[in-house]
């Protein structure tokens, strides 16, 4: 029983970083219906920006970490304004391809600037400190990640449900032409969405980087975050978070009781099943567009 509980707790812990990435993907999808594949590299750039501020400029972590979140926000806005907005008559497919291209460019820039050697980010809490509850262990940093994911989910939920800007974002996704006719400045809304999404993703990057930093560190969390977002229905913030936890728990239980070798791929098998039997995702409301 202890083993089972430990696996569930560990699953929730690892699911928290997937949840943050999933949230970031859902924010953009809610507004533009684009799965944003540059999400991981935006977080990567923010983590390395914080590393640079601390290592080269000698900045304290309590200044460098917020500065990295602001950097991600600005970078997201700049990318949307300078590249995505310039696409001529964009289709969803072309926008996806642009995000993949941007991912490669950012990855290349980070590799070129910082090299491929593994590093770690200074952080006030060691990634290897843990809390013991009974016989169950949980990393202190994982508790923080868990809290951050839940807090951000709640804030974003309130933002989308109860603020004018949040409603404008939803309107922009559901019908951009009508939204524009209703006076919503959809370009500005999209720009803000990219900034917000990059900032949320950067928090995942900053919480992963204290363990090991290298240019490919965000690939796995990004893919798992995307998987969680798909499972949750792509537009549901609580759905993405709950799916991320579910994914983490299933991975751990599968690794513990069935096969540790196929632990990492079980997430994708689940997505296939979800898409086959409930294509709108586990938690999203299914919208039917009038034609």
């Amino acid at each position: 029983m202890i083993d089972f509980l430990q696996m569930v707790v560990s699953g929730v812990a690892v699911g928290s970083s997937y949840a943050l990435m999933g949230l970031a993907m859902v924010i953009i999808y809610k507004t533009s219906e684009i799965p944003n594949f540059v999400q991981g590299e935006l977080a990567l750039a923010a983590a390395f920006f914080a590393y640079m501020l601390m290592e080269s400029q000698g900045l304290a972590y309590y200044l460098a970490l917020p500065a990295a979140v602001v950097f991600a926000l600005v970078l997201g806005c700049v990318l949307e304004f300078s590249i995505l907005r310039r696409a001529k008559q964009p289709t969803i497919l072309s926008m996806i391809v642009i995000t993949i291209g941007l991912e490669m460019v950012l990855l290349g820039l980070v590799s070129w600037k910082f090299g491929a050697d593994q590093k770690t980010l200074q952080f006030p809490i060691s990634p290897y400190d843990s809390l013991v509850i009974g016989d169950i262990f949980i990393g202190t940093l994982e508790v923080i990640t868990f809290g951050a994911a839940l807090l951000l989910m709640a804030l974003l939920f309130v933002f989308f449900r109860f603020t004018r800007t949040g409603l404008a974002m939803k309107a922009t996704q559901q019908n951009p032409v009508s939204a524009r006719l209703m006076g919503i400045r959809t370009h500005r809304i999209l720009n803000l969405t990219w900034g917000m999404s990059a900032a949320v993703g950067s928090i995942a990057g900053l919480l992963i980087a204290p363990t090991i930093m290298h240019p490919f560190m965000m690939w796995d969390p990004m893919l798992k975050g995307f998987a969680a977002a798909v499972m949750g229905g792509m537009t549901s913030l609580p759905g993405a978070v709950l799916s991320a936890y579910l994914l983490g728990i299933i991975e751990n239980l599968f690794g513990g009781y069935i096969s540790i070798e196929f632990k990492s791929v079980v997430a994708f098998a689940i997505i296939v099943l979800v898409l086959c039997f409930k294509p709108s995702g586990l938690f999203a409301r299914h919208y039917v567009k009038k034609v």
Partner: protein
């Protein structure tokens, strides 16, 4: 018409006249010898990227000293990101485009396996693969000369030390689920069998795994008193860190690929202290005269700014030393066959690594192409330096 005929004949005749100074051997000209090498500068194994950069600095040092019999070594190094498909594409491009005389080092078992048959089928020498895989010598290949001690021998030496010297009998193995990891696992099993023991648990790690808790739960449940880590650098650090987070503190032992202690201490935030590793080269702070010469004349003179003087960097020198020695012995007109003959003639050659000896090619004798069986054990100290636990040990 007659003039044109004469021109055509002249061109035809010229094409059969040997051009002065151009050697018939591929990759060798009057002034240059072209040597190829791959190594991950990006990707999951990038920590081992400094091997190729070490070889590069070594060749630059030799060139600054006049090259080998007046010929400059032209080093063609490319980044394969530890991706066998990229290794194969890069090797073919360089071999068929520029033409390499020989290949040196090359990090990784899987990338090396992707090009081994391509090089051997064409009779192109490949010296010092940066991996201790049995695949290089079992069966042996005429043109493939291994320098790196075999992983399974390293694993045997470590497990024997744990059982005999430290009295640790509950041995668990966490291994990368590929040829590299399985070589270590095989050595551990064989060494334990010598004492009538078995591993208490064997935990495979996939290259893309980042969450190590399920792995550590299995290790902890086994109550192992020694965990042998045969994984990538990143996985080894994550495993040790997760063990610490879960209050599981066995003796850790690991392969030479994780024996660059300053690096390991830096990325593990100090948790690597106490770990025992096999290694194949002089320690970075050793007073060995040749090592100090390389540090001054290769590293300090030619390494890029920010490059660290560590085992992985000068491993690139260790793997290339036998080839350079054989090239020197080839004399002024090197050919591939001469290079092979001179390598076969090396007996107890000593650079900054283990003693290296080869024999005339025998398809039934792996040791005709496995240059060394020597390794020694070191323990990581709190300040990142290494404590030598044994002298060079010859493994079987």
């Amino acid at each position: 018409m007659r003039k044109r005929l004469i021109s055509v004949l002249a061109i035809l005749m010229l094409s059969f006249v040997p051009v002065s100074g151009v050697s018939a051997e591929e990759g060798v000209s009057d002034k240059e010898i072209h040597i190829g090498q791959w190594g991950p500068q990006t990707g999951p194994a990038a920590a081992w990227g400094s091997v190729a950069r070490g070889t590069d600095a070594y060749f630059k040092m030799l060139n600054a000293q006049g090259g080998i019999h007046g010929r400059m070594l032209v080093h063609h190094m490319f980044d394969d990101a530890y991706n066998p498909a990229k290794t194969k594409a890069g090797v073919k491009e360089l071999q068929e485009g520029t033409g390499m005389f020989a290949w040196v080092s090359g990090v990784g078992t899987s990338p090396g396996l992707a090009v081994r048959d391509y090089l051997m089928d064409r009779g192109i020498p490949w010296i010092g693969p940066s991996a201790g895989s049995l695949h290089w010598v079992s069966p042996p290949h005429k043109y493939l000369f291994a320098v790196y001690p075999l992983y399974y021998m390293e694993a045997k030496v470590l497990v024997r030390y744990a059982v005999k010297e430290m009295g640790l009998k509950k041995v668990a193995v966490a291994y990368l689920n590929d040829e590299y990891g399985k070589n270590g696992l095989r050595g551990a099993r064989e060494a334990l069998a010598e004492f009538g023991l078995e591993t208490v648990v064997e935990v495979p790690v996939e290259i893309k795994d980042t969450d190590m808790k399920p792995h550590v739960m299995k290790l902890r449940k086994s109550e192992a008193d020694m965990v042998l880590l045969w994984t990538s650098v990143g996985h080894a650090v994550r495993l040790v860190g997760t063990c610490k987070a879960m209050n599981f503190t066995p003796q850790f032992m690991s392969t030479s690929t994780c024996s660059d202690f300053p690096l390991m201490m830096h990325i593990s935030k100090g948790l690597w202290a106490g770990t025992i590793c096999a290694t194949f080269g002089e320690l970075p702070d050793s007073g060995n005269a040749l090592l100090q010469k390389y540090k001054k004349e290769a590293y300090e003179a030619f390494a890029a700014q920010g490059e660290r003087w560590g085992l992985f960097f000068y491993a690139g020198i260790i793997f290339a030393e036998p080839m350079v020695e054989a090239l020197k012995r080839c004399g002024p007109d090197p050919t591939r066959e001469k290079l092979v003959a001179e390598l076969e003639g090396l007996r107890n050659f000593k650079g900054i690594g283990p003693h290296v000896s080869y024999k005339p090619f025998d398809p039934n004798d792996p040791m005709s192409r496995q240059g060394t069986r020597e390794t020694f054990l070191v323990q990581c100290l709190e300040d990142g330096s290494a404590k030598k636990l044994t002298d060079w040990i010859t493994a079987d």
